[in-house]
Assembly symmetry: C3
Homo-oligomer: 134 residues x 3
């Protein structure tokens, strides 16, 4: 079992940030060759997702789609005014699991791992645990 943390700073109020290289760097620094890695996001107005990384338009379209689906102007009860961000966090999910082979995350051709900021900008952290095997 190998454990670690990541820190990142988001710049927009809502944005998807490609964290694939950051995660792979940490795994490689820890000498990990094969395993199952779970990433966990400890924030309630942010999430994690895997989607297309080749065309940056896709990550913007995901934000646009969520902003259209989630009722941004609904008279929500929570007084901080960020209930849409909480809803988006639950829609994307707080954790995800990927496989590691030869020190690389075995994503599909177009896939990248994204940290989803829904109430930024903020400094955010991520936790990960890896079950290693030979």
């Amino acid at each position: 079992m190998i454990a670690g943390n990541l820190t990142l700073t988001t710049k927009g109020s809502m944005e998807l940030i490609d964290i694939t290289a950051m995660v792979e760097d940490r795994l490689q620094a820890a000498g990990i060759t094969r395993g199952i890695c779970t990433l966990f996001n400890p924030h309630t107005t942010a999430g994690l997702t895997i989607n297309e990384g080749a065309d940056p338009a896709v990550r913007q379209d995901i934000i646009d789609g969520l902003r259209t689906m989630v009722p941004m102007d609904h008279p929500f009860r929570h007084l901080e005014g960020n209930s849409p961000a909480h809803i988006m966090a639950s829609l994307m999910g707080s954790s995800l699991t990927v496989f590691i082979e030869d020190g690389r995350i075995t994503l599909g051709t177009w896939q990248r791992i994204f940290f989803c900021e829904f109430d930024g900008p903020r400094t955010r952290s991520l936790h990960w645990r890896l079950i290693s095997y030979n």
Copy 2:
């Protein structure tokens, strides 16, 4: 590998129930100190999510948001009339994975684990498996 089940009774048709203490109690009763725990919900009109637990308004806002997004009055095919609950179940997801350190679930400051009832009230169960490590 340590396995277990939980049972809970929901009271409303749609509600988020904080199950964090219930899960931690079971882990501590099993003498678990460190590990990776996966919770699995075996129901098709309920889900699991992690979100803010400090302000109870947030969990109500998540329900309200989902009720606004999912077409509640759409002429769905399924004759039981609970297709919106099935859709919400898939949106929230049927399982989630958390980390355990020092006998506690390593959630973020504001995070709690919620069982999402979308077609209650009912008696519901949950399964969990833990991969322990030192």
Copy 3:
């Protein structure tokens, strides 16, 4: 640790395909009795979900619900025209984790595992890893 892949061919542009038997067959062929299995979908316009399999209407209602929620005619930036499929992929998620007991996936009474095709028809693949225990 036991690893494997599945291939399937989808027939519609959007459909949910029950892959439960296919996954169980592979696990049983590998002689697996107990464990935790994670399925990973390497595609960015497809997802994985668990929902009701008894009434085929439910899987169609999930597609209908998603098509109503996600803005299908929004002027998205991504030029391939399949941004709604990318959004649905993130809503359903790219991986899921199930438990194995006595060589069977311990799903609830009405649950089945579905591969969610959102931009077919295509040939699709899935990866899985199993942590076995006694």
